[in-house]
């Protein structure tokens, strides 16, 4: 991932969409393993890209965000209390906002 794809200011951007405590994640992978979707690195993949501010990657895989069942199991079992489920919702809002602004991208 090239330097210009990383944006340490992203947490600030995401604040508008209610990111909560997601940046506390220490990447243990618990959320991936409990997620009923059983789907690759989801949802940690999204959390990780959010931590790095790799928005391009988030938007590339944005459709995955809507697979989330919002069941809350990841948030309930997250050892860091990072509430990954809430981050997914925030990223949905962020993505919708992006689509609204740049409908053709």
């Amino acid at each position: 991932m090239k330097m210009d794809l990383i944006d340490p200011e992203f947490p600030k951007t995401l604040e508008r969409f209610g990111a909560g405590s997601a940046f506390e994640c220490f990447n243990c992978g618990s959320c991936v393993a409990v997620c009923p979707l059983v789907s690759g690195h989801f949802p940690r993949k999204m959390i990780r890209y959010a931590q790095l501010g790799a928005t391009e990657k988030i938007l590339r895989d944005a459709k995955d965000l809507w697979k989330c069942l919002h069941c809350g199991l990841c948030s309930r079992t997250c050892p860091r209390g990072a509430d990954p489920g809430e981050l997914i919702l925030s990223l949905r809002r962020f993505t919708l906002d992006h689509w609204k602004r740049w409908p053709n991208v």
Binding site: L69, C71, R93
Partner: protein
């Protein structure tokens, strides 16, 4: 999977037009109360949020969506809002089987009966029973949700409604947690089973509960149903993933990917089957989903009604 953007736009536009995400008017969808003696006066208002009523319609849609998912036709879905022929109320009325509608309406009748039998001071005013907007929140359309919620909250408050009795976990979560945050208006929200009075009756049934995620985790309400069953003398086979750690049935995925929904559902069905006992559900989405998987699930309220 379907493009979430299209689905959100469709739902938002339906909500704007009809006040619910299904494109049929509330009065078409909400007809269960016509078979009960209506109580318009009472301390708390029964607020169904139109969820149970909508399930037959959602089932219909899902079936349709499942047929076209991952086909070239799926991309045409983005024009859904422009070709609403199958989504207008007339279409629905014709397409949705009466038997389905009756089944879900009966659940609300049961809740009504349980509340009455438990001497709950409540009323029902169909014209004030709105869809909560929860789906918009879940899908990420926070503005759409806020707009709708503001309307619902304002209307309820304007009509003097302060206390709500809810029947499903999603509406409960919306009214109890999201509304105060988004609209600034707070309601005193209870679920119907928080109103159940001990009947003193005892039966010797054996069931298992499929706890909805929202009761288990978001609202911390999952101990109560077990207690009610225990009071009734019903043996409840507790499966591994239950209560706070319940597993999702996959229901919420039905609008974007019926396929994914099916995968998750099948795993949950296996877990529920391990209990070897009749399954009780407590959420219209779960119930619809489980029924579709061929599990003869019953709603918790109709079960309780028999004994309370």
């Amino acid at each position: 999977m379907y493009d979430p953007n299209n689905i959100i736009q469709l739902i938002a536009s339906n909500l704007r037009k009809t006040g619910n995400p299904f494109g049929a008017s509330n009065s078409v969808i909400n007809s269960w109360w016509k078979t009960v003696p209506l109580r318009r006066q009472g301390d708390a208002m029964l607020f169904t949020g139109l969820m149970y009523q909508s399930i037959p319609y959602i089932e219909m849609t899902t079936e349709w969506l499942a047929r076209y998912e991952d086909t070239t036709l799926a991309s045409y879905f983005r024009y859904g809002k422009l070709t609403p022929s199958f989504l207008v109320s007339l279409g629905f009325r014709l397409l949705v089987p009466q038997i389905q509608k009756r089944r879900f309406n009966a659940i609300l009748n049961s809740v009504y009966q349980v509340l009455t039998n438990s001497n709950t001071d409540f009323c029902y005013r169909p014209e004030l029973d709105f869809y909560s907007g929860i789906l918009l929140h879940d899908l990420g359309d926070s503005e759409g949700f806020a707009r709708h919620a503001a309307f619902v909250a304002k209307t309820l408050k304007a009509n003097g409604i302060r206390k709500l009795i809810t029947v499903d976990p999603h509406t409960t979560y919306a009214m109890k947690v999201l509304y105060p945050r988004v609209t600034g208006e707070s309601f005193e929200v209870r679920t119907w089973f928080e109103c159940v009075a001990p009947s003193g009756k005892s039966c010797a049934g054996r069931v298992t509960l499929h706890d909805p995620c929202f009761y288990g985790r978001y609202l911390g309400l999952s101990d109560l149903p077990y207690k009610i069953l225990d009071d009734l003398g019903v043996e409840c086979v507790r499966i591994r993933n239950s209560g706070e750690f319940t597993n999702c049935c996959g229901g919420p995925a039905e609008s974007v990917s019926p396929k994914l929904n099916r995968e998750v559902l099948d795993r949950r069905v296996e877990e529920l089957n391990s209990a070897n006992a009749p399954v009780l559900a407590m959420c219209p989405i779960c119930l619809g989903n489980l029924l579709r998987a061929g599990i003869p699930a019953e709603d918790f309220s109709t079960f309780v009604e028999r004994y309370v």
